[in-house]
């Protein structure tokens, strides 16, 4: 197991550089004219253009620019965004609120999905199963660009159950509605995967043996079936955590949370290469750590799986 861990950590370093390089290359490919993108619709003077080009080495070749970026990153300096702010400051502001939002969302989504998935899996074809199917469909059919403002309208304004926006330093209660909306993106898949896994495992031989030995249904389902059914759903949760952090663009916009998603969107929009790559570097590390944890969890859940 120890050798496995060491190998994984080494691979993480390689993956990190690979991923950041690809993102850097993508930003470079996407960049037609970052100075113009920053200025929006107003005209830019020659002087402004020259100053910004020199300051950010925008006229250097791709490898030159990548080299400047690498040098900075290896000394812990994530550089400056095209607007002049230090990227490490921007990250210190954005990451905490996004991490809180994503964690809340994933915990709520996983809890709902696993609970409802288990019940649906046990009573397949029953009322509960069909009702959750319909609810899943409604959530799936509405794109987030509609679901988020609609929830804000109904639950935030009309019913006044939650504050309509959250901001940079929100309380847990203010984050609840955005977390629910964000969680809805992933709860459908997680629920159905749990349901199918539970349904399948209930027909397995070892379940019949356990029951024949005299174990109660709670124990059979809660201990034996659940452990085996969780493997696919854990995989999903692992993937979803990272996805929610980087993809919560619409939710963050609607609820006014200037987190990672918003900064990524802004950076892509203004062709701000250093900003996007800075945030993605941290995101990749998060993905890698979470995936390592997920793989370790497989081994914990299923003793037949071995790593050497």
């Amino acid at each position: 197991m120890f050798r496995y861990l060491v190998r994984r950590l080494l691979q993480m370093v390689v993956t990190f550089f690979g991923a950041t390089f690809i993102v850097y290359a993508l930003m470079f490919a996407n960049q037609d004219d970052p100075i113009r993108a920053l200025a929006g619709e107003r005209p830019i003077s020659q002087a402004e253009r020259q100053v910004l080009t020199e300051r950010y080495h925008l006229d250097a070749s791709f490898w030159h620019q990548y080299w400047y970026y690498l040098k900075g990153m290896l000394t812990g300096d994530f550089g400056t965004s095209l607007t002049g702010r230090r990227i490490s400051d921007m990250m210190a502001d954005a990451w905490p609120v996004t991490v809180r939002l994503a964690l809340m969302a994933i915990v709520i989504a996983a809890a709902v999905a696993i609970l409802a998935g288990v019940i649906s899996g046990i009573r397949r074809g029953g009322i509960f199963d069909n009702v959750t199917l319909v609810l899943t469909l409604i959530v799936l059919a509405l794109p987030i660009v509609v679901l988020a403002p609609l929830s804000q309208l109904i639950f935030g304004i009309k019913l006044d159950w939650f504050p309509p926006t959250a901001g940079l330093h929100p309380s847990a209660y203010a984050l609840l509605l955005p977390a629910l909306v964000l969680g809805s993106l992933v709860v459908a898949t997680e629920l159905r995967v749990t349901r199918s896994a539970v349904g399948e495992n209930l027909r397995a031989d070892y379940v019949r043996t356990a029951r024949a030995k005299g174990l109660t249904r709670q124990r059979v389902v809660g201990v034996h079936v659940l452990r085996n059914s969780l493997i696919p759903v854990i995989t999903l949760i692992g993937v979803d955590i990272g996805g929610l952090m980087s993809g919560a663009i619409v939710t963050e916009g609607v609820f006014n949370i200037p987190g990672v998603g918003f900064n990524l969107f802004r950076g892509i929009h203004t062709e701000d290469g250093p900003l996007v790559v800075g945030f993605v570097s941290v995101l990749v590390i998060v993905f890698l750590v979470v995936n390592l944890l997920v793989d370790l969890l497989y081994a914990a859940l299923d003793p037949r799986i071995r790593y050497e």
């Binding site: 987030i144 159905r192 019949r208 249904r217 969107f265 990749v284 497989y298």
Partner: protein, 312 residues
């Protein structure tokens, strides 16, 4: 009947509770697919789903069978007008016929959804299966490759891909959107099938088959895959719905379907802004989208249940 037997024999979208009578089984040697087809033929859910799928496929291919109105005949003066005559769903913000737009929108939406999901499924299957079965350095390589693809923000990759893949100035860009969604959506499916393969390859029946002389390909496709396919199929059916909806987000950013294309995603995203005062242009395309997703999910469930050898 004990509780457990009640659980095991619960009615639902699945095979019949009693195994086929022995008399049939001795007539001729039956393969998995023959067994599956027999079960499928008897399942009500399968037929219901199949009918829906065929209905939407026909709507996508021949919209004129469903409506004779022109979805592009938009007159601003008719904005949000209520239903009348053959315009069953009323008019939207631009004064276009909602029913006609929904019918014509089926083609682009279904095409994008199916193509993107097929692409994601194929790539995911190949990568996940190889990584899970062969293990070792190949697994490490492929898993890290998945991590790298996951690490790239969807939005960034979508914009760059869409720009680079954009075809001539008059196409609607379906291929570009489907390719973008497919290339970026295969990772979840790959990880799911990988984890399922890892779990099943250590089972006794695999060891038994190997001892009987089965090679890796035969092991993979005849023994391991049918036992690992369940969660994978579930994820794909949901991915289909998600892809149809993702197309809306892409179109909104200016990198989706272009040149006046009509799709459910575009209709939903546009109508959503005015949902407070005019909900119907939002509701109808959403209903069609939900029904399509439902149909594919049920179809996937039924097929998967029929093919799952654990349920024999």
């Amino acid at each position: 009947m004990s509780d457990l037997e009640a659980v095991v024999t619960a009615e639902g979208p699945g095979p019949p509770s009693a195994p086929p009578p022995p008399a049939e089984a001795t007539d001729k040697s039956r393969s998995l697919s023959d067994d599956a087809w027999t079960d499928l033929r008897r399942s009500k859910i399968f037929w219901f789903a199949a009918v829906l799928v065929v209905l939407f496929l026909v709507m996508a291919a021949f919209p004129t069978l469903f409506t004779s109105n022109d979805p592009r005949d938009c007159i601003l003066a008719r904005q949000h007008a209520p239903a009348s005559g053959s315009h069953f769903f009323g008019y939207d913000f631009q004064g276009c016929d909602v029913y006609a737009k929904t019918v014509y929108g089926a083609r682009n939406s279904v095409l994008v959804g199916v193509l993107a999901t097929l692409l994601a499924g194929v790539i995911g299957l190949v990568v996940g299966l190889s990584a899970g079965y062969f293990g070792g350095w190949l697994d490490a390589l492929l898993s890290r490759f998945i991590d790298v693809v996951l690490g790239v923000p969807f939005l960034l990759a979508a914009i760059v891909l869409a720009k680079r893949l954009a075809a001539g100035s008059n196409s609607t860009g379906i291929a570009a959107v489907a390719l973008t969604l497919g290339f970026l959506g295969w990772t979840t499916a790959a990880r799911i099938i990988r984890s399922a393969v890892i779990a099943s390859k250590n089972q006794d029946y695999v060891a038994a088959a190997r001892m009987l002389g089965a090679g890796p390909v035969r092991l993979m496709f005849r023994h391991i895959l049918p036992n690992s396919i369940t969660s994978f199929v579930v994820v794909l059916t949901i991915l289909l719905g998600a892809n149809i909806a993702s197309e809306a987000t892409l179109s909104f950013l200016g990198v989706g379907l272009r040149n006046g294309a009509i799709s459910w995603g575009i209709s939903i995203a546009e109508a959503g802004r005015y949902a407070r005062t005019a909900p119907w242009p939002l509701v109808w395309p959403s209903v069609f989208l939900a029904l399509t997703v439902l149909a594919f999910i049920m179809l996937g469930d039924a097929i998967r249940d029929a093919f799952d050898p654990k349920l024999r």
